[in-house]
């Protein structure tokens, strides 16, 4: 694809761009869903495309195309220039300067390229069987999915950036419905890897089933202030929301609740959060970001103190800092945006059983509905619907449902007093987190 990239680069410069950058990708993917012991859906895909970013007259413009023929590249370059002309001049707009050689990362596993559809189908079927067989209250496994992706990225710019990498990954997902006395509850789980041999269909299926069964028999509980334990799935969805406020883009545009808090205490003293684009087991890892800046590890919260934000080239120039390698693209169709890579929550781990044994009165939250709609990333206020189990006198007791958890992000972070020993990857946002224990949360119920 470098021939396509170089051609597009030449065309953009020939048409009058001051600077140009071309990102191209090719990928193949499989998605297999099974249901009732049979294949429900098998999708085989192959795609490619190119995105052209130009800087012209101090403004940036972007255009993309799935067609990489020379005539399409010419049109795409012309559109990028037209888009730059209509965008407002901004002195901080720039492309990345070439840096030192990007790190070598172990993010491609040759073995996955040899896995057959039959093997992948068998893993998905094993996952469904594991979930169905786990508990007689499991009604059905609504979604059982295997998916993989093999992507090669090519990037070059007129500033001299030039790089390529290939990465692959696969994952399993199960969404289970359990039923008891006419009440239905749901549970889900994932398993991720870079080769099918790393996937754990048995454990994943059993866990999804158990998570659904744990919620059966749930009732509203009275409204109260209580200690809550967010399990890793729920913790990850909250971290996903607050991570948007940790980008320099949100800070500079006045839509981050952390804007004026750099160097200040924003969380419990034992809380550490970092962005790490280099973890080989993290599915968002890459040698360089969507602008060619090398990925790295960036501490965001250390010992409860906000230590920094995530930057791309533009926001870094605006703030007089260095890009942290967080100018990411979701595909060739998007220009770089400031986003986290892998987010890692770290703190002293306490065995989860000990955590629960130490709680007199609380709720173990294993599902939160509406985190993305019920949480305001600007003000930090949130109110979400939760399901989970009551904790009474150090023991898990009955399930709770139709209750809300409300508060604001900073108070919640400051209320964090402990972490479980169950840290794991939750895909979606690629977040590695244990269960999080928070004191003084408002539960809204009957």
């Amino acid at each position: 694809m470098f021939d396509v990239v170089d051609k597009a680069l030449d065309l953009a410069l020939a048409q009058g761009a001051d600077e140009a950058e071309v990102y191209a990708s090719t990928s193949t993917s499989r998605r297999i869903k099974v249901y009732g012991g049979e294949v429900e859906e098998l999708t085989a895909a192959r795609h490619k495309g190119v995105g052209v970013r130009v800087v012209s007259g101090g403004a940036a413009g972007y255009a993309y195309s799935s067609d990489t023929a020379p005539s399409a590249l010419e049109t795409t370059a012309a559109r990028a220039l037209e888009h730059a002309r209509v965008s407002d001049h901004d002195p901080h707009v720039a492309l990345a300067d070439p840096g030192s050689a990007p790190p070598q990362l172990d993010i491609f596993d040759e073995r996955l390229t040899r896995a057959t559809d039959e093997q992948k189908i068998d893993i998905a079927l094993a996952l469904e069987r594991a979930a169905l067989g786990h508990d007689k209250r499991v009604k059905l496994v609504e979604d059982t999915m295997y998916a993989d992706d093999d992507t090669e990225v090519f990037l070059a710019s007129s500033k001299g950036v030039r790089g390529t990498y290939r990465e692959n990954s696969c994952f399993l997902f199960a969404y289970v419905l359990a039923e008891q006395d006419g009440q239905v509850d749901t549970g889900l789980s994932y398993s991720i890897g870079r080769d099918i041999s790393e996937l754990q269909p048995q454990a994943c299926g059993r866990e999804a089933a158990q998570r659904a069964c744990d919620l059966l028999g749930g009732r509203q509980c009275p409204s109260m202030k209580a200690t809550v334990v967010l399990d890793p799935f729920v913790a990850a969805s909250f971290i996903g929301v607050l991570s948007a406020a940790l980008t320099a883009d949100a800070v500079q545009k006045g839509r981050s609740l952390f804007a004026a808090l750099e160097g200040k205490e924003v969380a419990g003293a034992g809380v550490n959060l970092c962005d790490d684009g280099l973890r080989p087991d993290g599915l968002a890892s890459a040698p360089f970001d969507g602008e060619g800046t090398s990925c790295r590890r960036t501490p965001l919260i250390q010992g409860g103190v906000l230590t920094g934000f995530l930057y791309d080239v533009y926001t870094a120039r605006k703030a007089g800092r260095q890009s942290t390698g967080n100018g990411l693209r979701s595909s060739y169709r998007s220009m770089p945006q400031v986003r986290p890579t892998n987010l890692i929550v770290e703190g002293a781990a306490t065995p989860l059983a000990d955590v629960i044994a130490g709680i007199e009165h609380g709720v173990l939250v294993s599902s939160a509905v509406g985190v993305h709609s019920g949480a305001n990333p600007v003000s930090g206020e949130f109110s979400v619907g939760i399901n989970g189990r009551l904790i009474e006198a150090g023991r898990l007791s009955t399930a709770v449902r139709e209750v809300t958890l409300a508060g604001d992000i900073i108070s919640m972070l400051k209320g964090i007093v402990a972490f479980g020993d169950d840290a794991r990857w939750i895909p979606g946002g690629s977040i590695f987190t244990p269960s999080i224990v928070i004191e003084g949360m408002s539960i809204g119920g009957a």
Binding site: T43, A44, H47, T75, R79, V86, G385, A406, G407
Partner: protein, 475 residues
Amino acid sequence: MCGGPSNLLRVTLPALEAALLEAVVARALGSGGDFAEVFVEDSVGLGMRLEDGKVEQTSGGHEYGAAVRLNSGDRTYYAYTDEVDEAGLFEAATAVAAGLRSGAAGATTKLGAERSEPGRHPVQVPPETVPIVRKRDLLHAADDVARGSSPLVGQVIAGYSEGRQRVLIANSLGDVVRDDRTRVRFIVTVIARRDGIIQTGYQTIGGSAGFEILDEKAVTETAVKAAGKAVIMLDARPAPMGAMPVVLANGFGGTLFHEACGHGLEADAIAKGASIYAGRMGELVAAPIVNAYDDGSLVNGWGSAAFDDEGVPTRKTMVIEEGRLCSYLYDRLRARSAGAEPTGNGRRQSFRHVPLPRMTTTCIAPGDATPEAIIAATAHGFYAKSLAGGQVEPASGNFVFGVSEGYLIEKGKVTTPLRGATLVGNGIDILKQIDMIAADFDVKSGICGKDGQGVPVGTGQATLRIRQMTVGGTG
């Protein structure tokens, strides 16, 4: 050259003659199956965004791709490619056939006459013919108006998007359908701040229509409304917690029906018994005053098209009549399995996505009360003016909505603004508790996500009251 150069729209080229499409369908069915289809898409789009007073991200592009789908019983084999030529299409068809390998070739019907319905959703001013600077100027106009409306406005984010998607669908039933969809949308988000309190207001205009729906007046109104919401919410106090009567305003309030009920009526959830509405056809699932429908044929509706993404004409489907469940929303696959007619709800985000039963514009039909009378009849309650969005578990019917603009109702009057509220409940419970519906019907546009696919949808509703609902607040 603005928007989409027309010479790129190659769906119209003779390279995709009926003979080729027929051969691809036949190849897909080569080792068995009940149904095969080719879906070709040619899309151009443009997106512009203003923030901090600057138009900073202008992006657009072109995508041309095709998918081949094979169904055998309830199974789907799907392959897509962006090589839309004979080799690419046959490769995709061979891939889906290899997935099935059942033996005898499946039946196909010779392709019939091509159908299309230009003008079902009239486009007076194709957006690609409007100079791009005019679009930029509208973004700046929204920014100026919003900032000028109050000194408390701290940030304005305005977005413009346009898209033209041409599709060609041919299948083993002999259907050949072309559809040409143009959509434009304008979104204004205003952030107001005072003494450390931050509130946001959001307003949108969108349609399956041309640039004619966007002029200075429409854009100005949108910006003023968004700013007004953000500013008024600065005075909000934390919403109370607990169960109380809830009055949902028209327009955005329709998200309630979309989330609480609509997803559970989509036939994929029904087929798996993963919906509270499964097996309840004909039963009372709502208060008798409730009539509800999905309408993919609503003229110029944001969620509308002439045909769905399987080539089925869109239509109005009653789903609840006088409180009784009377239809689900079907795509072809689920309709075939259930022995029902497809309802024009087979939709996909693009050629990269397998079609699923999806809502289009989903509405609770208006009643004859007035919004004022409904408020006046409520001694104490919560008035939800705008909903931020919501989520539902179709299996249990449990849902949550964020309320972006809410007020206390005291002694039959709307009083203090309340912030941080969510509405929590269960689909069937809530629909059964609707006890008043007004006549002020309005439709709002949004993007609905399901199984990783986003599609444009509308929600239509008049002001209505729910006798009792759980409000989750921070106060």
